[in-house]
Symmetry: C2
Subunit: 401 residues, 2 copies
């Protein structure tokens, strides 16, 4: 067996492992424990064994779970129970989480009474994502109407800081966040189905804005840059690096570039993933650090040295896609390094699903499976995509990597 055959065989084995984890452990956990048959929607604050430790419903996770279940139904298997579970969340979102002014609550009670509105615009984004994919899975037009309606608010808010976010004071340095063009690019893909449809120009603009965060001189992706794309290295905000987020941006960009046939951006996307893994991989303990400072200052966020589930999920997808795109065995070695560490540390063999939060050394610090920011999303999305990318016969590389 030559090297390429060996890599292909290992890729297929990892693909099977991801699919087994998805269908045997992760999706069953959410289907068994989260569905709220009494009030609709999902209980998303679930302890290690699936019992709820809070009945409040966090709308990011309500939206993301609708999206995931609907995606499983369209892309993995047409199981009626998945579509029905997606409907349970979609109708709860529609009936209790969006307001007439097209804003979406961040958190509601189990019954759907409002608890909190966030100043950020992400609850609205996950609402759009949920409704668009639910419409595609169910054929119910009302959901796509909802998606388009709230998307119009998201586009306006992304363009005008007065609509969402903190008030901008005169001494505040204007900085553009990586998150905004990333989520907009994502939403265009969900609304149009791909990046060549109605909102193709919006997607291209998002790609351009994401690329402005990639700085060759630093070999890093900065979370926040000046509106002209330049680095603002005098403050911790300007120096903030979130390797997992940058890696996610990398595979978003690679996906966009492959669809529109942009060789240059595809190469750039691979550089972004490579830089972020070079900087973010913890050589002492393994795993990907949560935050870094671009100039080596002590990062300010208290959780910077922790190992969170989602950067590892993004790195699985990104390195699998990079290998599939380039067929370069170095990318497969990187994938295997990440996959090995991830599968050794995050899955809970006893109760299913994955732990979310580990300390730097890799020990579990938080036992819950679902919380205000972790739900039925990153783990199943990564397992589904990694399975698909590793198992498929990929298209020929569109250019030298």
């Amino acid at each position: 067996m030559n090297d390429t055959q060996d890599v292909d065989a290992r890729a297929l084995a990892w693909s099977r492992r991801c699919r087994e984890e998805l269908l045997g452990s992760v999706v069953p956990f959410w289907m068994r424990h989260s569905l709220d048959r009494e009030h609709g929607g999902y209980l998303n604050c679930l302890g290690r064994d699936g019992r709820p430790f809070d009945t409040k419903k966090h709308v990011w996770l309500q939206g993301r779970q609708v999206w995931m279940l609907a995606k499983l139904h369209t892309d993995v298997e047409r199981r009626p129970e998945w579509l029905e579970a997606a409907r349970l969340g979609a109708t709860f979102l529609r009936d209790h989480c969006r307001r007439p002014d097209r804003r979406v609550w961040f958190c509601v009670t189990r019954e759907g009474r409002p608890v909190q509105l966030q100043r950020k615009m992400f609850a609205e984004c996950f609402y759009v994502m949920a409704m668009a994919q639910y419409a595609r899975a169910s054929g119910e037009d009302w959901a796509m109407d909802e998606a388009r309606d709230v998307f119009s608010w998201v586009r306006a808010a992304a363009a005008d800081a007065r609509l969402a976010g903190r008030p901008v004071e005169s001494g505040q340095e204007p900085l553009d966040s990586l998150a905004v063009p990333m989520i907009l690019l994502n939403l265009v893909g969900e609304l149009d189905g791909d990046f060549r449809g109605e909102h193709a120009a919006v997607a291209a603009d998002c790609a351009r804005r994401i690329l402005a965060h990639a700085h060759d001189d630093l070999r890093l992706v900065l979370e926040n840059v000046r509106p002209d794309g330049s680095a603002s290295l005098g403050s911790p905000e300007g120096r903030l690096v979130n390797p997992g987020h940058a890696i996610e941006a990398g595979w978003f960009l690679l996906d966009w570039a492959k669809q529109v046939g942009d060789t240059r951006v595809a190469r750039r996307a691979l550089e972004i993933v490579e830089w972020s893994l070079d900087a973010g991989w913890d050589r002492e303990h393994g795993g990907i650090l949560y935050f870094l400072d671009a100039q080596g200052f002590s990062p300010v966020p208290l959780e910077w040295p922790m190992k969170l589930w989602w950067p590892h999920c993004e790195a699985l997808v990104a390195t699998a896609m990079a290998w599939r795109h380039t067929r370069d065995p170095r990318w497969f070695r990187r994938f295997e390094q990440i996959a090995t560490w991830t599968f050794e540390h995050f899955p809970d063999r006893e109760h299913g699903e994955w732990f979310g939060y580990l300390d730097r050394a890799g020990a579990v610090t938080h036992r819950f499976k679902g919380g205000p920011y972790k739900g039925c999303f990153h783990v199943p999305r990564a397992l589904w995509l990694t399975d698909r990318v590793l198992a498929q016969d990929g298209p020929a590389p569109i250019g030298p990597a």
Copy 2:
């Protein structure tokens, strides 16, 4: 030498050690590195060696440093350079940090342009604290006028959630935070000089409201309780325990009780400290955990297992006061346990001052000495008070502990 004499001798040795640390390491660090002669105020984001990693000024720390320097001047030694350094901050606060509507910015640029207003009311509180103590140290009446003026807003905001804080939505459970009566009690002490003056009734009401957070059945102090004082154990907010904060509440209450001669509250204050140390002390690694869940669920804050400088500072003060008040050697043993761990882990022997953030095992995770929430406050306040409490001949206990 009998046991009591031995304890007294060790208390004096710890007292000297605290004073040496205060005057030899901690205060010199801030005097050397933080004073902004060019723009006024203090650079409060300082790396391990005192070099700034951000020039923004965080107003909590501006106010707290003014207070601390003025307190050193009135209570430790009348050094003109301390008073002058306090003035540098007090005038910067007055000229750049308060608004005509009596609100106080959370963060300003080095030059004093506004960066951010917080929805919470603590910037205003630390402004009051700074101005009252600066007035006392300097004899400058304008500062006490400022303190009283902004205090009137703080009292209004503490009574009416519409003036500060997040909007209250219909599904949000109304919970009272421990922080509000604690800071108000503190401010009354600063404004009046003690708890028997103009605002004595406010202070007594604060003591009553703090006590409502202490729950015998749990042997815990809950951060958030219902307005009637009952526990809300269905949510992580209602179950949240912050041992360091509760310990601080304990010594605030003990101080109040001793001044007003309330034996019952003094006993209760000691229970609060004892419960919080019993629950918060990490039997595996030593040190005080940052957050707990009252019913043993996995705490939600990512930083829950970290060891932060300030809970240890509060525990030094509280246990020293508990021993001085009761003369019970068990309290001195608890003081020594905390002091030994604290002095082994937090001080930076190379560059002075203390590290602020350690992982659960006690390793330094964040090298900076000053940041958005750490400055010239908890460490010097604790060293000053611990020195004073351990060295003085305390009054006779006011009742059996």
